[in-house]
Every structure is written in structure tokens, then in C-alpha cells.
Symmetry: C2
Subunit: 251 residues, 2 copies
């Protein structure tokens, strides 16, 4: 039984992604996790460490999507401004969260360094925590905005702390991939017809070019396993009719 689609937007906050210094992998990780949690990642944005941009983007997207997930900008340095920006977006004060502060104080260090580290305990007033099983400072949730670290290991720990119940997720998104050494154009027309017949399933076609030859992976996505099975059969038949071999799980 399919419920209402729960939508999400991801905000990747960080100059290092836009400058090309760092290859983002958090989007891909979050996308897959949300499929399982029954939440649909509907858009993602990469934005720079600029206060006005972050505040404006958070306010635009939290009104437009059921959930917003941010990564990046919650460390202890001058460019870590996410917590302050979220507080501004919600029009609330920034406060020190005692549970995060306690965790930070648990690891002794020199006073000046501790002062910087404690900046990571800042959250908007009213925020609740997102656990961080690596033992470092927690992330936080403010309204429908989930604020997580940018370092992949830490971000992944925080995503792992999210539950379907907390997100109000519905049916998990399932997919099948069927690949063949066939050009996209050779199946384009029939694919369009199948898509028109099955509007609840998303049919994608992804060409590849490899040493072994060129071909196409066909991907079907939806929440209804039975309908996916019917479509998978139709795709296999289509490929076979074109004189090629259908590969389950793609080529």
C-alpha cells in the first residue's frame, strides 16, 4: 500500500565541492539510505559557505519539501557557519547544547583549543540531536531540517541514526536493472510506450561505452514489487526480440 510520497531536498554546504577540491559522495549515500527509509530525494543543491545564501536556501527548501538534509559546515573553524545560519533561518537564538558540550569536554585538551571545539556545541534554540556513533559531536534537527557533518564517515554515522518513524517515511523505493549490448535508440520507442503504460514506475535508460562494446542499462524504480516484476519481464522480452541478451542486475 503506497502512502503519500515524502519528499526531501539535500543541501551540500561547502566551497570545497564547488571548487572541485573534493568529490562529493554524501549525496549518493543519502539517496540510497532514503530509498530504504521510504523518503524520496527530489532535489539537491550545492551551495557555498555564504551566510545569506545558506539562510535563503534553507528557508526556500524547507517550505517546499517535507524534509531538508544538510551536510557540511558544523566544525570548529571560521567557515563552519551552518548552525548559525539555520538559527537565522528559523529566527531563533543560537544556544549551547549541554549534551554536545559534555561530549566535547569528555576529551581533554588545552583551553584555547577547547574554546574552538566547543563551537561545535552550538545549535538553534529548540533543536533536537542526531546521534553520532563515531563518538564525536552530534548533528541536530531543527523543524524539518536535519543538519549533519560533511566528513563522509561522520555523515554516514548520522544518517544511520535516522529512522523511518522519525522521518515519517512510507514504502521503500525498489529498483531493477536490466542491461543489454543494445544502443539506446534501438529500444527508445518501445521504452516510451512502456513508460506511458506504467506511470507509477520510473523507467530510465543509461547508455554505456566500454571496451567490450556499447550498450544500455534499463532501470525501473517504484514501490510496487509486483508491477516491477511485470515490467522487468516486458523489458527482457523487448531486449530478446531485438536479438540481444538481457542481463539481470545490468551489464
Amino acid at each position: 500500500m503506497a502512502g503519500k510520497t515524502v519528499t526531501a531536498c539535500m543541501l551540500i554546504i561547502g566551497n570545497e565541492i564547488l571548487s572541485g577540491r573534493t568529490q562529493d559522495t554524501n549525496l549518493n549515500f543519502l539517496a540510497k539510505a532514503l530509498n530504504e527509509l521510504g523518503v524520496r530525494l527530489t532535489e539537491a543543491r550545492v551551495i557555498p559557505d555564504i551566510e545569506a545564501t545558506i539562510v535563503e536556501t534553507v528557508n526556500e527548501t524547507r517550505a517546499k519539501f517535507d524534509h531538508v538534509f544538510t551536510t557540511g559546515g558544523i566544525g570548529p573553524t571560521h567557515d563552519d557557519i551552518t548552525a548559525v545560519c539555520i538559527a537565522k533561518a528559523f529566527g531563533v537564538d543560537v544556544v549551547f547544547h549541554p549534551d554536545i558540550a559534555a561530549r566535547i569536554r569528555g576529551r581533554e585538551t588545552a583551553p584555547e583549543i577547547m574554546e574552538s571545539r566547543l563551537l561545535m556545541a552550538r545549535v538553534p534554540q529548540g533543536a533536537t540531536l542526531i546521534d553520532n556513533t563515531t563518538g564525536g559531536p552530534q548533528g541536530f534537527q531543527m523543524g524539518n531540517v536535519f543538519v549533519m557533518a560533511g566528513v563522509p564517515m561522520v555523515m554516514q554515522a548520522m544518517v544511520g541514526a535516522l529512522t523511518k518513524e522519525r522521518l515519517g517515511g512510507t514504502d521503500p523505493m525498489r529498483s531493477r536493472t536490466i542491461g543489454a549490448y543494445l544502443g539506446e535508440s534501438e529500444v527508445a520507442k518501445q521504452l516510451g510506450e512502456l513508460q506511458a503504460k506504467h506511470p507509477a514506475v520510473d523507467i530510465g535508460s543509461y547508455p554505456f561505452y566500454r571496451k567490450a562494446g556499447y550498450g544500455t542499462n534499463l532501470v525501473i524504480r517504484g514501490t510496487d514489487e509486483a508491477e516491477l516484476e511485470v515490467l522487468a519481464k516486458a523489458l527482457r522480452a523487448l531486449i530478446t526480440a531485438m536479438g540481444a541478451e538481457a542481463h539481470d542486475d545490468g551489464v
Copy 2:
């Protein structure tokens, strides 16, 4: 001599990125290429293959940024709707571009397959071409919107065809990375002070956690080589003063 900053927004069009099926690498490639071309990638968005979303996002971003670069959705299947969406965004008709069509017709195939392949010759009226040195169908430019393929090999060929002159690029963006086995918090305060003294340079701090230990890479970015050199010296001195070793090109 630094000119006015030329800004760019990238639109990654494709359900496969949002579903987690495909790890995007085009953003990172374009970001690095734009650094060299003297254009600043200021924002990126990943949006689904939905006409209304594409049209609205193109119109919002082409008004807001000097350039918009799109990837994805220019193949021959039902989900390849980028050309049609760009035409709608600009309020012009879709036409068949004779040069793209000639290239497609140069590779013989069955009539029904040719019909699908020729869909890749559709461009908005008034578009100019972006060359594709892989020999496949070209991309196109419409106003300040540059429309490229999603397949990385093809996308990279199209980016390679762009010139600084065509984009009106200014000074290339340069960067230095200096790394150390020091926690971010240990240099946080001083970094903030250096950033305040050098507002034209972007100073970023990126923590890492590895088997060899944890540490931080400090990245400085700007167009003025002399200023970068001054800052690099200051960062090396800061790291040494903390009792650690400064590694040029990062750890």
C-alpha cells in the same frame, strides 16, 4: 589584474543521480575546468527529469548567474527532455539542427532506430553548437545556458570545447593546500584571523581521519598568486609553531 567575477550554476538533470543509482562525477570535472577558464562555479543543483522543474530551474538560474551549465537528458529516449525544456524556458520552438542531424545520419542504421537517434538533433531555435570530439551528436548553447551530455566521457569532450573567450572568463582560480597532523580546533582561531586579514582569498579547513592519524588540510584559493604565496607562508609558520610539520600539497 582581477576582473569582475563570472559566476556559473550547474544543473545536473537526472533521476539516476537522485536515486543513488549513479555517482555523479561531472560536477567535479566541470568545477576544475571552470577554475582554469576563469569562471566561478557558485552553485549546483541536481533536479529530476520533470519538465516543469527543469523549465522553472533554468529560468531562475539563468537570470541569477552569468552562465548555466546543464548535464544530462539529451539522449534519444522518453526521459531525454532537456532540449524541449530549454526551448520552453526561452519561449522558442524546437528545431532540427542540420549539423547534428548530418552527424547522426553519417552512421547508418535501420529507419526506426534512425528516427529515435534523430531526436538528438533537436535544439531550441537560435541555439549554437558545443562540439563533441567523441564524434557523437553535439551539445548546444542557448543564450547563457550550455547544454551538455550526462555520460562523463561525452560531457568531458564538450567541456573541452569551451574556451575562455566564449565564456568571458577572467583570471583563473589558483589554490594551495597545506596539510598537517593537527586537529582543526588547534588552528581554528588563527585561521579565522588570517581569513579576516585576507578577504579576497578563500581559506578552507578540511579535517581527515586516517589510519596514520587525524589531521587537517588547509586550502587557500584566489586569483592573486602573490597573495597566495604570502598566506601559504603564514600557514606553514602557524603549523610549525604548533609543533607539527607542514606538508605542501596536503597530507
